[in-house]
Structure formats: structure tokens, C-alpha cells
């Protein structure tokens, strides 16, 4: 083997130039650890009667007359290849295998694997190796050629077979061979030059520019999307295959004729649709090797003369199959064929994608047609195929090989990224889609697919009801009756516990009864809505039960909400009576509990019924007004029954009541506990945001169950750790509200509390909790991105993909919740019709399902994983926010032409940013707008920043480009913070300066003014806890949180710290005095 001994700089005539494609492949090859992924294997089935000598001779001849095989490659002085001298007979690397006939197939497969698994040394060569397998009874034989992709492509099969046949049948003399060798080597060089001329031409450069522009905005295709999907791969692969039946094969041919398209176009069209469905996108790039051969003589050559280029398949699910194939896809393929001199590296450079991982740039899926051997052999070679070698260069590779006039479709997938179940689902989709395409091309593309149904059941695979032994009987009288049954069993047990008051079940029963009568006297009839705005948990529970007893519906009214919003709520709800604090809302009377409880004559309340709605809760609405969700009995009875069993509720249950009553979580804290005869424990006197105080309360009261918003879980476990608190009685910590991200700190808490289970619940207000995923401290590994789990018994969870069908494993789709879970609906009939759809999957015409708008994906064992949303709904610290609701308010402000709200930041730091495009000549007043928003919307919906912008950017499809705005927001905010840092701020004392420093580091901003609300700088309920912990550490005193919220400024905080230190000093003196006296 010759080495490259040419002095650098000297032009060496034996160095051959490389094409761009070759250079690209050489570079990539030198970078991957598993270089064998570029090994290609071809198997030539032979006439088994050929002698060993004939085969040896033929192989040497083949290598001689096909110079590509004799290439070796180098990088200096510039990338090149050169030919090594022709081998002598017997000096060609061949592995021979002779086996009994019954082992032949397996031996051939094993040989292919062995040949393919070792990488080649491209610098010294050879870049090929042969195998020869034979059945000992002479019934079968095959030559296997394994070569690096750099030396051959699909079109090379033909020339190789022709030469092999000539060589095997000894048609060539030694002179013939030598002449042929020279001619071929010359032709090879000419072809390289021709290709380089073409790809270097100005015309090609122009094509690259335009094409790159078209590709730039195509979203990446991600098969089997899930959080934590590996960025890098180890390229290990597996193959699934499908050989078309004879009928299918002829239908295939007929369809191509009818539509006047090539098999490549047809397969690209169907494959593209399958990829679009499975990836949840509407445009797919399929990489396909297109022959770039230019010279006539090159068609006799083996060589790597292809350019792999992306075919853009645009999928419109409503378009007909025929249009998709013969229109859209044919044009897309022609587009590529007309630009075949463009090389992939030119496109990648033009698109400007950054290649930070070892994933393929531009496209992750490939289609390779192996139809370059038409099977018309003259005898010596009777068949050819290309086995895989256990690797995968792409996420998904589809190979189409003609085998005896039928197509063999092989799906090779990257095992690291795509599981076997997902690959099976892909093949199933491909099969169905192709069959349906051949059967009827007039149907819409979406109909190429079907609902994915596993094991004959609808995939609402529900959680097994926990067999804790007591199925709770659910009475017809609804929740009121259910609770009363429990109350009558243990009248002396404590139902509700507050710091200064306990309420027994007997007392609860009596009080609720009296109150219900009182409501009746006040004119409340079954089905009406009664507002609830009481302080005190005992009173609240009494009135809740009374309202239910009356057959009415309770509407929690949070007095911290803007008056305007509350007025709207009661008006929409038709609520005339409010029990609790006087709110002065138009159209309503307010009555106190005392008034209602006075025993008096008048109608007695009936026992309540399961037909009435239980509560009415409002949630953010995208059009600017909140939506009222009317929740009926059925879903809640089902939920409570499940919870009692799954969370092991009984008379010993002590559930901390944490959630505001207007959050549907409050239902889960209160009702199932009461039905079980347990105790609902008030969080008072702890403020919800005061985690140290909450920790103390939980320790004191020894609650067994706690339900927190996801956003509060980390502060909670952190506060527990700082306080060195343990909760031996805690059995369940439930969370819900947004995506749960589990970190080591959270895991550690549950490892420290092995009796305590972390329960991740999911469900919009429109269904209450619908799915659940439990995690226990002894689980081997908790996923960082916690799944939302499986549906509760009675709940149907449908994942509906882009085609409108039930999605297979690994395919993202929109979650629809059916079964017993949907609420009655919204107050607004139109919105109800839009959100609550007939359940077309259940086979029951009366059932409905709620479309959540949440994108999820199901994994192989049925567990649901939340992926995000595609619309303007987001969560801010667990609160549901429709960005449109903020925009609607902003659009009413003077001078605002258009507004767009976006959310930026992660987890607890997520905040809202509002962009304003002004009317020409107008200058909207930000302060006035902020005031307008605060008057109308809850505090968590207030934007932290407001920016003016000249125009609202739109995406390729004409929709508002929120991503671009979010990126802009990030930049502008960084700018503002940096600018703020340069302005000097005055503080009144070192204490103030020290406190400002603590806040600075937490909020990531400098120059905090001493008298400006810290909320303006980004402080919120969760980072406040962190700040207070640091203040306590720094100054050695605990500052009360509620005081701070009244005026959250540095100045106030300094006052509070001083006061707190003074009090500590006083307490210490008093203690000393007392001690001194005691001793005296």
C-alpha cells in the first residue's frame, strides 16, 4: 500500500480531487466514534455452481476494473483520494463461510454483520472487504461486498453486477482488463471534475441561496418527542421490514402510472405523511440521495456520486391523497432533481444551522431507493440486497428495494432515540397509509391513518383502582348526603380544625342544616348559584355543605381579586346572594352566616341531589373575559371515590387546607376528607407564601395529606430542610398546576420521608383532576420531567394527533378528556360547544370530551407526558393565564393599535411581558395601562414589563411570532437591567444597602430603589421566601412576611428588620430577667 509521500505544496498528479459530498462524508466520518455506520453491504446471490477459483479471479478483476474500490483518502495537502494498485488474484480480502443448507440464511446474515461491524482505515485502505458464503450441498451461494460509503452508492450496484458477471463468466482477457482499468480510472477523474464544475458554478450558487431561504423556517422533525430526549446518539440501530404482497405491488405500479409519478415520488409522499403525523408537524424534510452523475462513462462506474438533498413534503391533512402525491410532492421532488448539482454542505452552510450535536443537520429522516438493479441478470448474479449492520445513521431511514418486482420496505431506526414500540407504530402507520393510498386516492390525507387502539381497548387505559379494600359507596343524594352519612357515623370526631376553633361532625351537621334552611328562607332554590366569601375555614365548610344541601351551587369569591372582575363573575353567574363579607357587588345581597343560622319557620332544605352542579369556578379566558366552569356532581363523585381509595383516606386523615377556595384543588382537600370522617386542617395563621410558617403549622398539626401548587414544592422542601423539619405523619404530598420538574432537593425530601408519596395530578378546571402519577422515595430513579401519568378510573384520556386520530405511541397530540370527567360546561353556551365536544371515540353518542389544548405524548406503557401548549395559554406560578385576556384589556387603552403578551422565564421566575404597537402618532401611557390591568385582572396576570414596538413580527404562516417577541423581551430586559445597574441609587442606611444587595442577587438586577415596590423588580411569592431565608441568615432575625407584603420595599423591609431585632433584644432581656429572678 502506498503512503502519501509527496512533499506538501507540490502538485501530485496521482491525487484525485473529491466532490463536496465526498468531502462532507470524509469529515463526518472522521468525527464519529462509530465509523462503521458508513459501511455499506451488498449481497449478490450467485449461481452456486461457480468454482472457488472463478470467484477468486472475479473478485480480483472487479477490484481492478472498478477503481473506486481501490481508493484511499487523505487530508493533506488538501482532501484527496488516490488509487492503490490493482490486487493480484488471491490477495483480495475475503472471508469464506461454508455451511449446511439449513444454516445458510443465518450464516449469510451473520457474515454480513461481521463484515459490517469493523470500521475501515481509509488512509491505508482497502476501503472494502468481501465475504463468500456457500451452502455445502451447492444449493445457494452469495458474494457479500462491504465497502465504505465513500466508494459506492446506489447506482453503483448495476456496474458492479455487470462487471462481476463478465468476470465470473471469464469473458475478459488480461489485455482487456488492463485497457478497461485505464479507461475506467480516466473516466473516474473526468466525472469528479465534471461534478465539481457543476457544484462550483454561479448557477448552483444562486440555487443554494434561494433553496436555503426556503428551508430556513421549516421546524425540525422530532420523532418520539419527549423531555430529555438524547441530544447525541450512539448510532445503534435496528430494522423492521415489510415486503409488499403481489397484489399490493401491482397496485403500486398502477397508481404510479395513473398519477404519472415515479415510485420515489409515491413513497416520498406517503412516507412524508407518516412522518408528519408521527412528528406532529406539517412540513417534513426527507433526505434522499439523488444521483449527481454527469458523464456518460460514469454510468459504468462504481463510486460515491450522489448528493443527498432534502425533499420538502408539505402536508395538508385536508388535501386529497392524489393531489398530495401528483401535485405537492411531485413538484418538491422535481425541485430537487432540477438542482442536483447543489451539495448538502452548501445548503447547510446557506441555512446557517448550528451543528452542536452529532445529529444530522437539516433532516433526520431519509428515503433511499434501491431500485438501481432491475433484476434482469444474465445468470451469474441472481439477486441483490443490502442488509443492515446494526447501526443507524439517521433517526429513521426508509429503504425501498425492488425484489422480484415487489417492493421491500425496510425501516431502520436509531434505537437510542426511538424505541421499538415507536418504530412498530411507525411501520404500522406506513403500512396502513400505503395500502389506503393504493386503494383510494380521493380521500383526504388525514384518512390515511386510523385510531391507534391497543389490545382492543380504547386507550383510556385507566389507573388500577387502588385496592385498599374499601370501595366507597356513592349515594344518589350527592355530596351533601355522602358527607352527612360520614358525619352521622362519628359525630364527635373533628371535621374542621382551626387554631382557635374545632368543629365536630355533629356540629357541622347541625350548623349546615340550619344554614341550608336559612338559604331556603332567603329564596335560594336548587340549581341557583350562591357566592361564598367567608373568612375562617369552619364557617366556609359549613356554608359549602349548606349550599350543597340546598341543591345549589357554590361560587367562591376571592376578595383579593379586582372588584371589576368579581362584579363580572357574579353577573355572569346570575348570582344574587353572597354569604360572607360585604362586597357591594351590583345585583347581589350579602348575608352573614349568623343571619342564616337563626332557626326559623320556612321551607326545610331537601337533601341535595347528584343532578345539581356543585361549584362554579372561573378561569382565564382568551377573549378578555374569564370563563365560568360549571362543575357537576358526577365527575366529583368519581374523583372523590378514587381519592379516598388511592390516598388511603379514613377517619385518621388530616388534610391541610391550603388552596384558595376558588381553585378546584380545594375540593380535593375538603370533600374526600369529610366523606371519610377525617379532619380538614386550616393552614392559619400561616400565610400561604410564608413557608417557614407553613412548615411549623404542618409539624404542629401533624397533617397526613398536603396539596401544593407545583411552584410551591421546592420552597416547601427547602424550608423543611432549613428548619430541619421532619413529618413522620405525612403520607401524601400532592401537586398540580403545571409541569413538575423534580430535582435532587425534592427527591431527597421524599427519600427522607419514605412513608410519604409524591402524587402528581393533572387536570384543567374543566375536569378537575383527571390523571395521576405517583412517585415514591424508594423508586430507583425519579424522572426530572415528571409524567402526568394515567387517567383516573372512569376518565378517558384521548391523545388526538394532527390527523384527528388517536395517536400511536410516541406521537404527540392534543389531550382530550372524556368519560365521566367533563364538567357540565361553561356559563357561555358558545364556548361550551367549542370546548366540550361529542366524544367520537367512545362509541357512545351521549358522551362528551373536553379538549384541553395541552400537547402530550404517550409512552409505551401508556403513561402520558406533558409537552406544552401551542396557543396563548400559559402558567404563571401555577395560575392559568390566557395571554389573550391581557391583550384584550390592553387593546382598549387609548392609542394602542395592537398588543401581544408573552411569557418568558422558567418555573418560578416565569413572568409576563406586554408589547404595544401604537396607533400612528399615539404614545400609550404605560402607567395608566398598568393601572387599567390591575383594576381588571388578578395580580398574577399583571405584566412585569411593558415595551413599545414598531410592528408585531409574524411567522411564515402569518401568525404572530410569539417566539420572536419572547426573544426580543429577553434582550430588552437584559438591556434595561444593565442600564439600571449604571445609575447610582441612594440608601438611607447600611442596612438598606445590605438588604438591597440580597435582593439584587436574587432578582438578577442592580440599582433597586429603596422606596419602589420590589414586585416591580420581579419579586414574587416564591423568590420572596428565598430572600427572607437569606435575611434571616444574614441578620439573625425572622421578619414576618405578611407585614412585608403590605409595602414591599427596601425601606419597609429595613424597618421590619430593625423592629424585629429590637423585639428579639427585648425578649432576650425579659428572659434574662426572669431567669435572674428565678435564681434569686
Amino acid at each position: 500500500m502506498l503512503k502519501n509521500t509527496t512533499a506538501p505544496g507540490a502538485a501530485d498528479p496521482t491525487l484525485l480531487p473529491l466532490t463536496n459530498a465526498q468531502k462532507g462524508l470524509l469529515v463526518v466520518d472522521s468525527r464519529v466514534p462509530t465509523r462503521e455506520i458508513y459501511n455499506q453491504i451488498m449481497q449478490f446471490d450467485l449461481d452456486p455452481r461457480l468454482s472457488d477459483d472463478a470467484v477468486d479471479h472475479a473478485l480480483a478483476v472487479l477490484v481492478t476494473v472498478q477503481p473506486a474500490l481501490r481508493q484511499v483518502f487523505g487530508h493533506l495537502p488538501r482532501m484527496h483520494s488516490r488509487f492503490t494498485p490493482p490486487p493480484e488474484t488471491g490477495h483480495v480480502p475475503v472471508e469464506r463461510v461454508d455451511v449446511p443448507p439449513e444454516e445458510y440464511a443465518a450464516a449469510a446474515e451473520a457474515l454480513a454483520r461481521r463484515l459490517g461491524q469493523r470500521p475501515f482505515d481509509l488512509a491505508t485502505g482497502p476501503a472494502y472487504r468481501f465475504g463468500y458464503v456457500r451452502a455445502t450441498d451447492g444449493s445457494a451461494a452469495a458474494i457479500l461486498l462491504c465497502g465504505h460509503h465513500l466508494i459506492g452508492d446506489g447506482v453503483s450496484t448495476g456496474p458492479i453486477i455487470r462487471d462481476l458477471e463478465s468476470a465470473l463468466t471469464s469473458k475478459l482477457t488480461t489485455e482487456d482488463i488492463e485497457t478497461l482499468r485505464e479507461a475506467r480510472e480516466s473516466a473516474f477523474l473526468r466525472e469528479l471534475e465534471a461534478q465539481n464544475r457543476a457544484s462550483g458554478s454561479p448557477e448552483t450558487a444562486e440555487h443554494v441561496k434561494i433553496w436555503a431561504e426556503r428551508l430556513r423556517n421549516v421546524p425540525p422533525l422530532v420523532l418520539n418527542p419527549r423531555p430529555g430526549r438524547p441530544e447525541e446518539t450512539d448510532f445503534s440501530g435496528a430494522r423492521l421490514s415489510w415486503l409488499l404482497g403481489e397484489r399490493e405491488a401491482s397496485d403500486f405500479q398502477e397508481t404510479c402510472k395513473r398519477l404519472s409519478v415515479t415510485p420515489f415520488v409515491l413513497l416520498s409522499a406517503v412516507y412524508g405523511a407518516v412522518l408528519a403525523r408521527h412528528g406532529g408537524v406539517s412540513t417534513v424534510l426527507i433526505g434522499s440521495p439523488l444521483s449527481a452523475r454527469r458523464t456518460v462513462r460514469s454510468y459504468d462506474l462504481c463510486g460515491f456520486f450522489v448528493n443527498t438533498l432534502p425533499v420538502t413534503v408539505d402536508v395538508d391533512w385536508s388535501r386529497t391523497v392524489d393531489e398530495h402525491i401528483a401535485g405537492t410532492v411531485r413538484e418538491a421532488v422535481d425541485y430537487c432533481r432540477g438542482r442536483v448539482s447543489v451539495t448538502l454542505d452548501q445548503l447547510v452552510a446557506g441555512v446557517g444551522q448550528d451543528r452542536t450535536s452529532n445529529r444530522n443537520p437539516l433532516f433526520s429522516c431519509m428515503l433511499a431507493m434501491q431500485d438501481t438493479f432491475d433484476g434482469k441478470s444474465t445468470g451469474a448474479v441472481v439477486g441483490v440486497r443490502e442488509p443492515g449492520n446494526g447501526t443507524a445513521k439517521f433517526d429513521l431511514w426508509l429503504g425501498a428495494t425492488k425484489v422480484e418486482s415487489r417492493w421491500l420496505l425496510e425501516l431502520e431506526y436509531d434505537r437510542h432515540l426511538i424505541s421499538e414500540a415507536v418504530a412498530d407504530a411507525l411501520l404500522a402507520s406506513l403500512r396502513t397509509a400505503l395500502r389506503r393510498t393504493l386503494a383510494d386516492g380521493t380521500r383526504p390525507l388525514a384518512d390515511l391513518f386510523t385510531d391507534w387502539i391497543t389490545d382492543g381497548d380504547l386507550p383510556g387505559t385507566a389507573v388500577e383502582p387502588a385496592d385498599a379494600g374499601r370501595p366507597a359507596p356513592v349515594p344518589a343524594g350527592g355530596l351533601a348526603e355522602w358527607i352527612e352519612q360520614a358525619a352521622r357515623r362519628t359525630p364527635d370526631a373533628i371535621a374542621v380544625e382551626e387554631p382557635l376553633r374545632n368543629l365536630t361532625y355533629g356540629e357541622l351537621l347541625a350548623a349546615a342544616g340550619r344554614t341550608a334552611d336559612g338559604l331556603a328562607r332567603q329564596g335560594v332554590t336548587p340549581g341557583q348559584v350562591v357566592g361564598l366569601s367567608l373568612d375562617g375555614l369552619c364557617d366556609t365548610v359549613i356554608v359549602m355543605l349548606a349550599i350543597l344541601r340546598r341543591g345549589a351551587t357554590y361560587l367562591p369569591l376571592d376578595t383579593s381579586l379586582p372588584w371589576e372582575r368579581l362584579a363580572h363573575m357574579v353577573d355572569q353567574a346570575g348570582c344574587r346572594l353572597i354569604v360572607g363579607r360585604g362586597l357591594g357587588l351590583p345585583g347581589t345581597r350579602t348575608t352573614g352566616l349568623a343571619e342564616l343560622s337563626v332557626p326559623g319557620a320556612g321551607p326545610r332544605a331537601v337533601g341535595g341531589s347528584a343532578d345539581s352542579a356543585v361549584y362554579l369556578m372561573f378561569t382565564s379566558g382568551s377573549s378578555g373575559v374569564p370563563k365560568g366552569v360549571v362543575m357537576g356532581h358526577r365527575p366529583l363523585l368519581n374523583l372523590a371515590a378514587w381519592q379516598i381509595s388511592a390516598m388511603e383516606h379514613d377517619a385518621a386523615t388530616r388534610f391541610l387546607q391550603y388552596a384558595p377556595l376558588g381553585f378546584d384543588v380545594s375540593f380535593q382537600e375538603i370533600i374526600p376528607t369529610l366523606v371519610s370522617g377525617g379532619t380538614v386542617v386550616s393552614r392559619e395563621p400561616a400565610d400561604r407564601r410564608d413557608f417557614p410558617a407553613l412548615i411549623r403549622r404542618i409539624e404542629e398539626t401533624r397533617v397526613s395529606h398536603v396539596f401544593l401548587p407545583v411552584a410551591a414544592l421546592r420552597p416547601f422542601v427547602q424550608a423543611a430542610r432549613r428548619a430541619s423539619a421532619r413529618f413522620p405523619g405525612l403520607r401524601r404530598v400532592c401537586v398540580s398546576g403545571e409541569q413538575l420538574l423534580v430535582d435532587d432537593e425534592i427527591r431527597r425530601f421524599f427519600a427522607d420521608h419514605p412513608e410519604c408519596v409524591l402524587v402528581n395530578l393533572y387536570g384543567p378546571t374543566e375536569t378537575n383532576a383527571a390523571t395521576v402519577h405517583e412517585m415514591r422515595g424508594d423508586d430507583a430513579r425519579w424522572p426530572a420531567h415528571a409524567p402526568i401519568g394515567r387517567p383516573l378510573p372512569g376518565v378517558a384520556a384521548y391523545v388526538v394527533d394532527g390527523t384527528g386520530h388517536l395517536a400511536p405511541v410516541g406521537v404527540p397530540g392534543e389531550l382530550h378528556l372524556g368519560g365521566v370527567s367533563p364538567a357540565d360546561g361553561y356559563l357561555d353556551a358558545e364556548r361550551t360547544a367549542a370546548g366540550f365536544l361529542p366524544d367520537r371515540f367512545s362509541g357512545d353518542s351521549a358522551s362528551r370530551m373536553y379538549r384541553t389544548g395541552d400537547q402530550v405524548v404517550r409512552d409505551a406503557d401508556g403513561t402520558l407526558i406533558f409537552l406544552g401548549r401551542r396557543d396563548g395559554q400559559t402558567k404563571i406560578r401555577g395560575y392559568r393565564v390566557e395571554l389573550g385576556e391581557i391583550e384584550a384589556i390592553a387593546n382598549t387603552a387609548a392609542g394602542v393599535r395592537q398588543s401581544v403578551a408573552v411569557a418568558r422565564g422558567l418555573g418560578a421566575d416565569r413572568e409576563l411581558v406586554l408589547f404595544l404597537a401604537a396607533e400612528p402618532g399615539a404614545d400609550p401611557d404605560h402607567t395608566e395601562l398598568q393601572a387599567r390591568i390591575s383594576a381588571a385582572l388578578p395580580s398574577y396576570m399583571s405584566p412585569s414589563w411593558i415595551f413599545d414596538t414598531d410592528g408585531i413580527p409574524t411567522s411564515r404562516t402569518g401568525k404572530t411570532d410569539r417566539e420572536a417577541l419572547t426573544a426580543l423581551a429577553d434582550r430588552l430586559i437584559t438591556e434595561r437591567k444593565t442600564n439600571a445597574a449604571t445609575t447610582a441609587v441612594e440608601y438611607a442606611s447600611d442596612l438598606e444597602r445590605g438588604l438591597a444587595a440580597i435582593w439584587s442577587s436574587i432578582l438578577g438586577t442592580d440599582s433597586i430603589a429603596r422606596d419602589r415596590s420590589l414586585i416591580d423588580y420581579g419579586a414574587h411569592s416564591l423568590n420572596i421566601f428565598t430572600a427572607f431565608a437569606e435575611i434571616e441568615e444574614e441578620y439573625g432575625t425572622r421578619v414576618p412576611v405578611p407585614e412585608f407584603f403590605r409595602s414591599p420595599t427596601i425601606a419597609t423591609l429595613a424597618e421590619l428588620v430593625r423592629a424585629s431585632l429590637a423585639e428579639d433584644a427585648r425578649n432576650a432581656r425579659d428572659a434574662d430577667d426572669a431567669e435572674g429572678e428565678a435564681r434569686a
Binding site: 448495476g158 465534471a194 404510479c256 402510472k257 398519477l259 404519472s260 409519478v261 415515479t262 415510485p263 420515489f264 444521483s291 452523475r293 454527469r294 458523464t295 456518460v296 462513462r297 454510468y299 422535481d334 432533481r337 432540477g338 438542482r339 442536483v340 448539482s341 431500485d371 438501481t372 432491475d374
Partner: protein, 83 residues
């Protein structure tokens, strides 16, 4: 080497799997991409270049014949590629 239209028809017929006339669509005649290139290789000058881009607009057998003719070798004193 002069190739007559009849010659072309008979060459094409060797690859076609169905009867055809000039207006027959390529796929209807059963002509695959590979066959088109094989035909081109047969008729074109050995030293020629075949720009496959031209194939994109070939829809009918008639189009094919026009394209093939464009690949025919020129006179002996002209060199160069036929595109």
C-alpha cells in the same frame, strides 16, 4: 452515428413495458428513471455529459425523444458536452 427516430422508438421499446406513442406519459409506458439514464448512455457521445436536470421536464415519450436527440454526438470536429 446517425440515429433515426425509428431507431429511438425501438431502443425505447426495449425498456418500456407497455405500448406507447409520442404522447404517452413516461410512467404509463413503464419507463423507470434508471431506464431513461440507460437510454441516454446508449445514445450519447461517450465523452459527453448528461445533465439530468433536463429530465425533470420530460413527461411524455415525445419529450424523452427530444431530450435524447439533444444528447446525440455532434460532428467529429466538434467536441464538448451535449446537454
Amino acid at each position: 452515428m446517425l440515429i433515426t427516430p425509428t431507431d429511438l422508438d425501438s431502443r425505447i421499446a426495449q425498456y418500456a413495458t407497455a405500448e406507447f406513442v409520442d404522447s404517452t406519459l413516461i410512467q404509463e409506458a413503464g419507463l423507470e428513471s434508471l431506464s431513461l439514464l440507460r437510454l441516454a448512455v446508449e445514445v450519447a457521445d461517450e465523452d459527453a455529459e448528461i445533465d439530468a436536470v433536463g429530465l425533470v421536464d420530460v413527461r411524455t415519450v415525445g419529450d424523452l425523444k427530444v431530450w435524447l436527440i439533444s444528447l446525440f454526438p455532434k460532428d467529429a470536429d466538434e467536441t464538448g458536452a451535449a446537454c
